[in-house]
Every structure is written in C-alpha cells, then in structure tokens.
C-alpha cells in the first residue's frame, strides 16, 4: 500500500495561527509506540484519531474511564419512577375508575410501562450524554481542514498535538513527531 509523501515544510506553517500538528501512521504497532512516546513527553492537549477502536489505545493514552454509566443509571431510575408515578396518578389518583373488579392500583399491571420508560430514558441519555461529553455535534473544527485527517476515518492512525498545549514548541514538537516515524506530519491552522 503506497503512501502519499508530499510533506509540506515547516516554512509554510507560519503566518496564519497554528492549531497544532498532525502526524499519521498506517501500522498499528508503530502508532501505539508513538502514542506512548507522545504521552511520555507530557503533552496534555493532544489526541489520537483512528478509523476504529484500537485496543489498548486508551491505556496507551491514559484516558480515564468515562462517567457516562452513572448518568445512564440515574436516567434509568428516573424513567422507572416516572413510569410508576404516571400510572398511579392517572389511574389511581386523578380519575380512578373501576375496571374488571380489579384494585385501583396494583403494581403487576404497571411493570411493563415502568420498564419500557426505564429503557427509553436510559437509552436516550446514553446517546445524548455521549454526544454531550464529546462536545458533539461540532461541525466546525480546525482538524477538519487537515488533509491527513481525511484518512483517519479510513485506514490511517493519527496523532494530533495542539499548539495550545504548554509543552508545545513549534520546532521541538514537530521534530518529536517526525522522530516517531510517521508517514507525514502536517501543521493545521486554527
């Protein structure tokens, strides 16, 4: 698989404000080594971009587990309570009517709806929460103007380091990245 090697020289990178550097790899093992190195270099405002979930990458980047599950659990409880409350209020409190000689309020009949609402609330929360935590939808992002990024959803593995990172240095960081043996390094404008 041949790789595009048209690398733009740093010289081009001054002028417009810089967002950061992007380096792309096509072998997972090299990529993971690179990630570990970047992390060791103590960067904080950096990220990796992969076409699919790469196992061990979280560990390599040192990402802490997300809080999402707790949020969803809370939503589930809310849904369940809402379900029971709704049924109690409507059928047992606000306008109780006599049905088939059955009790005005009895849990068994209310389980299905309560259950469904539990699922509904949690499911919606799971998706919305994930997007919210990820700050999506975010249609406009400097990285979208990077050419290398276009293969991040295809077959390449990228590392991006933001200029905003305290450890960021126009030259050193670039050298660091090039030292990791990427296919290319690109400076991305903010």
């Amino acid at each position: 698989m041949n790789v595009d090697t048209t690398t733009r020289s740093p010289a081009d990178d001054d002028g417009a404000k810089l967002y950061g550097y992007v380096a792309n790899f096509d072998k997972i093992d090299e990529f993971l080594d690179a990630v570990t190195k970047v992390r060791k270099a103590g960067f904080t405002k950096w990220d990796t971009h992969t076409p699919f979930v790469v196992h061990g990458l979280d560990a390599a980047m040192g990402i802490k587990p997300t809080k999402l599950p707790f949020l969803v659990f809370g939503a589930g409880l809310t849904g369940c309570t809402a379900g029971i409350a709704l049924q109690w209020f409507t059928n047992a409190f606000d306008y109780p009517f006599l049905i088939s000689g059955k009790p005005i309020f009895s849990l068994p009949a209310n389980i299905p709806v309560a259950f469904e609402l539990t699922i509904l609330f949690s499911a919606i929360t799971a998706l919305v929460g994930m997007l919210a935590f990820n700050g999506l939808p975010q249609l406009s992002h400097p990285l979208h103007s990077s050419r290398l990024m276009k293969r991040a959803t295809d077959d390449k593995f990228l590392i991006s380091i933001e200029a905003a990172d305290p450890n960021f240095d126009l030259i050193k960081t670039r050298e660091l990245l090039e030292s990791l043996g990427p296919l290319q390094v690109e400076a991305v404008e903010a």
Binding site: M1, D4, P137, Q138, S140, H144, S145, S146, K150
Partner: protein
C-alpha cells in the same frame, strides 16, 4: 486504489458551534411551547367561553332579570321538573308585551311569531355535545344555582357562555359539589352570596340532602 488528489477541503463555518446549544434549546423549548399552545389553544376555556351569538330578538336578561327582577322560572318553566329548562313559547313574552312596549320594533319578530304561529328561531348558546345527557331538574332540585353554570345572566345584555362546560369542568363539581350548593330558595338568585363560608354551607347541605354526584360514565353518557 483511488487517492484523493483534489485540493478543495470543505469545512463548515465557525459559527456552526451554535448548533450544539441551539439543538438543545430548540428541543426543550419547542416541547414546552407546543404543549402550552395546545393546552391553551384547544381548551374549551379558550374555544367556547364567550360564545355570544346575536339572537333574532335583542332580548336583554340584564333588563328583565337584573332590573325588573323576574325569576328564571317565569320563562324557563321546565327547569325544576324536566331535563330541559325549556325556552318559553312566544305566548310567554306576549303575556306582558301585548301591553308593555306593544309597539316597540325590537319586538316585531315576537309579535309576528305570535300572529303567524311561526316560532322565534333562537340560537342555542349553551350547547353540550349530543352524547351528553344533562338534566336541569336533577341539578336545580339539589341546590345547584343557575349561576354556577350560566354565570351572571342577570348582568348580560346579550347572553354568552360564561363557563367552559367541558367534561373536566363538570367533573370538578361532581367531585366536590359543596363548592356550588346553596339552599333551594336561592337557586335562581344569581347575585346571592352566602353569609357564611360557602364550603361550610355546601358541606352541610351536602350532608343533610345526601348529595353524592356520581362520576360514572353513564351518569351523563348513554
């Protein structure tokens, strides 16, 4: 193996960041807005209350009831015996108007009706759906004042619908009648207010007259 050689990289403008909060606000706000609009817009409170058609004869309850102090039952004779309050026949009007204002042109339709025997086509103001069976006698005899449903007719130049007459509205009273009960003699006194607290009075009347309005479906629907 195609390779993207094109130089144009499309990107969304920066302002699109507003989308995120935008979507959230739209979702929540839209829901609230819609429900409010529907609730207010479709409730009989908004749609039915205030219905005031022009009647063929400019009959003024304000004058006859308010000023002259006529009793409702003088014209609406059926109200204590039957389901319908009954609109009076032209005869009733002419009892007085054969002498009083005998030549007023406002009364032309009435005199015509009396002469020809053709009825005066009044427009129905308080119109319940046809699957609702309301019995005036059942309410009046228990001490529900006319005013509770029809409002201060005695102040109306032209009669209009004062209450929503919706099912929920009926149920309120059927659930807690004490709010509206009054001694039988004051049923048609539209301006009557109890000396004591209405709830106390109402509860007492409810107790003594054993008034427990059902909320069963077939109380009103047959």
């Amino acid at each position: 193996m195609t390779e993207d050689k094109s130089n144009d990289i499309f990107t969304f403008p920066k302002w699109t960041w507003v989308l995120r909060p935008g979507v959230a606000v739209a979702a929540v706000g839209g829901l609230v807005y819609a429900s409010v609009v529907i609730y207010l817009g479709f409730s009989p409170k908004a749609t039915d209350v205030g219905y005031m058609p022009t009647q063929p004869v400019p009959y003024s309850h304000a004058l006859h009831v308010g000023q002259l102090g006529m009793d409702c039952r003088y014209c609406h004779t059926g109200v204590e015996q039957t389901a319908r309050a009954t609109i009076p026949p032209t005869q009733t009007c002419m009892n007085c108007h054969s002498k009083v204002r005998a030549n007023s042109e406002k009364l032309i339709p009435v005199r015509e009706s009396y002469a020809t025997g053709m009825p005066v086509p009044w427009i129905r103001v308080h119109d319940l759906p046809d699957y609702v069976y309301f019995d005036h006698s059942a309410h009046v005899r228990r001490g529900v004042g006319c005013v509770s449903c029809h409002g201060r007719i005695d102040t109306m130049e032209v009669v209009f619908q004062a209450e929503p007459l919706s099912m929920g509205w009926c149920l309120e009273c059927h659930r807690s009648p004490e709010k509206h009960l009054r001694p039988a003699e004051f049923v048609t006194k539209l301006d009557w207010v109890p000396e004591e607290d209405q709830l106390a009075l109402g509860s007492r009347l409810r107790e003594t007259n054993n008034i427990n309005p059902p909320t069963d479906c077939n109380t009103c629907h047959r």
